[in-house]
Amino acid sequence: MSAEDVIYEAGHDDADAYADSYDTSDGRVFTLSGGDWDTVTPPSEGEKERIVVNMGPQHPSTHGVLRLILELEGETVTETRCGIGYLHTGIEKNMEYRTWTQGVTFVTRMDYLSPFFNETAYCLAVEKLLGVTEEIPDRASTIRVMMMELNRISSHLVALATGGMELGALTAMIFGFRERELLLDIFEMVTGLRMNSAYVRPGGVAQDVTDDQINRIRETLPLLKKRLKDTSDLLVDNAIWMGRTVGIGYLDLASCMALGITGPILRSTGLPHDLRKSQPYCGYENYEFEVQTTDTCDVYGRFLIRIGEMHESIKIVEQALDRLRPGPVMIEDKKIGWPARLSIGSDGQGNSPEHIKEIMTESMEALIHHFKLVTEGFRVPAGQVYAAIESPRGELGAHVVSTGGTRPYRVHFRDPSFNNLQSTAAMCDGSMVSDVIAAVASIDPVMGGVDR
């Protein structure tokens, strides 16, 4: 008798839906399988037929590896549940075994569509813990703002592109990815990488922006404005697009407050909540921009907000470019500031010859600082802080705990995708199956950020 037969028979004897068991010579063996609809209960008297559809984690329209468990009655969704964790990467745990600077390399890979926001949130928290927030050079803060706002545009473009693709508007996807390439060119030029750049470091940024690069960014912005207009012309008054989005995924202010929703979803209820205004960081109080709101509480409103925010971001980038003054981009304190100045030689990227010359022939102290920072890293006073910034998806917070060592004791991220994903059920229950796609697209969860 094979093992399957034994399980089959045992399943009949003592039917436990979640733990089949059978006897072996070594004792009773249980096969656990829970948390799923793997047993079918016939409907009781008077109850209608219940259909449970499992959507994802491998599905082209669930925005990554999100799994949606839908209970249907005909085409109406009666209950929605989210299955997450398919992209759990253990990033927060890994960071506990790396220095504070190395942590940047990990956080940038959390919400991979907004790497500069993750890095900045983390670095602001570390700087707050070090007590050096005031000593961050102006130029570094301005570069951070500039990169974050460019990143906001690229993130919203992907939100529109994938959202459009999920609703069947493939042109929106083509447009979104075309425009995004313009921004990725800037990222690559400034940081050396298209994504996952680890550019913002505790104390400043890794590399300065050259005048040449500033000019290239200036040249790109008008083209970007023109292209963004193309995208919004395509969709804003589009009857099909409006038919799929207006009045869909309704979530009002009270529900947003109850669920801790931030970002475009919250602003689509008419509340102008934006951390850049309400608790400015990186000098956002010096920039002129408007918080985009609508009062429709629906998918269309969130789409309009994203379009509006991209235009506002271009305004902020222009102001940031005007505000850039020559100066250092890394904190003066040699015990914190990452010493390397990178350059590209004939054998690839590495420390610049000037820096090598300084540490190897001129300054013993510089060599010691370089060695200590690279091998051990700096120490951060014991304590815990929370620093929050406004990411494209909402409030992105970093809760950082230190015990005074060279490594974090704990780093926890309050990722807006995770909190916003809670609203799926509130938005989708009672709607049609096709509206679930639109609602999830408007939440724009990035599973890398949700699962970390």
Binding site: P57, Q58, H59, P60, G64, V65, G85, Y86, L87, H88, T89, G90, I91, K93, N94, T105, F106, R109, Y112, L113, V158, A161, T162, M173, I174, F177, R178, R180, E181, L184, R194, M195, N196, M447, G448, D451
Partner: protein, 184 residues
Amino acid sequence: MGLEEKLPSGVLLTTVEAVAGYARKGSLWPATFGLACCAIEMMAVGGPRYDIARFGMEVFRASPRQADLMIVAGRVSQKMAPVLRQIYDQMPNPKWVLAMGVCASSGGMFNNYAIVQGVDHVVPVDMYLPGCPPRPEMLIDAILKIHDEIQGMKLGANAIREQNLEEAAALTAAPTLEMRGLLR
């Protein structure tokens, strides 16, 4: 898979092989298996600048049953691994797997409890593509290399002979333990 597999070895089979390889590489349909950061670059390859339609591959199939190539784009968590295997099993033969990025190839920087240390623990991989994430050009390069492999694929009797030769070579190959000197 069909009649071509039953042809006897010889001139006829080699000609059919060339035609089949040409046809297969010319319309290799990838399955959408986007996981993390690499998925965004994979979508960029489908976008206008890199335009994978030039290689007859713009149709990213949502159903694995219609796909020939699985591009594992991103880190595979322990929770995702069974799903990945199931999707691989649902793909019809002949099928290929491309491990895109270091996470899919070897676990990359995430050497921890959550990530499968290389997708080759779960499915057989035909092409490893390093990078974090690899540039779209790198993905196109890897895809073209898979195309070359497909073009040269053997059928029927020739395939069996090739498999036997490969197995014999593998049996006599020096194990890593006995390799000496700089391993490169």
